[in-house]
Amino acid sequence: MEIVGQLQKQYVDFINSLFREGYLDDQYVQLQKLQDDSNPEFVVEVVSIFFEDSEKLLNDLASSIQQQVVDFKKVDGYVHQFKGSSSSVGAQRVKNACVAFRNFCEEKNLDGCSRFLNLVKQEFYLVKNKLETLLRLEQQILQAGGTVPLIE
């Protein structure tokens, strides 16, 4: 039981730091609320879809920006999608980066778009890493026979 207690503390400290540092926002908590015994893998499923979706979007973004003639509307469309999905899972920093990115799309500022694509990419891989760690911790708690603390 001591192990469970330790793991739970680790989990709580970690997830609180993610909220504090803005990686995750309340929407993540909303997702957790939707998980229960009838659907115990819900968060993992949604997050996995988000990861897959995002990789594809990042590729699409990269190629659309590398075109001879950049179609800024198209780029904006991708960023809009990315903003939506990141917002739906609570990936706050990614979402914020997307919001700023869209401004450059509107201004047809290629340099800004380039820079912000890199930023969005960075933020995505950061939060991906954090979420993977978080979900791994959850797994460990469950495997040790404990329950995952719900943060409000």
Binding site: V12, Q30, D36, G84
Partner: protein, 226 residues
Amino acid sequence: MAKNVVFSRLRRLEKNERLEDDLSSSCDSHEVHVLAVDDSFVDRKVIERLLKITSCKVTAVDSGRRALQFLGLDEEESSVGFDGLKVDLIITDYCMPGMTGYELLKKIKGSSTFREIPVVIMSSENVLTRIDRCLEEGAEDFIVKPVKLSDVKRLKNYMFGEGREKSQDRGFNKRKLQETSPSPSPTSSTSPEPSSDSSSTSSPSKLRSPTSLNSPTRRFKTSNHK
């Protein structure tokens, strides 16, 4: 940290009780069937779960086109008296490639068979003119994304819960509003919002969480700009 563990156990108990309340309140023979439309896989997954957890049957499709096909409204397919599951509510994203949620809304409201089905629009952009357009076209409500459990619960309650009589009244008022020239709806208990030039970020949380009579969406409906 033991406190957190206890807290989480209590919350789960509380949550299960609430779930049971939801189930018992919708113990009519007919389970509410919602058609959810969203091009985003992530959002579809979330809205599907949100609806299921509030005891709704869900059909989730990824485009307006597919929604129309499901309803049997697609012009290209012959709608041979499509007798699928009756749809009680359509909830659709606004921004979609191909057919937007707004266009889907128009198609549905333009159909004699399906115009009575309430349509709710979801959007990440909290833009007053957009909201207004949708409401004027007959949308029941407008939810700002990301959608939360409280949004869906509230929606279900005032549309299919105890608020059912009220929704009939609302239907009446809505029609009345459309017949007469724009005038304040008798059900809105607060003065109309100023015209759409006001900041689009004003009280976004209110837009997200309407109550049956004081719905801020109704307030937007009463604005006289055009």
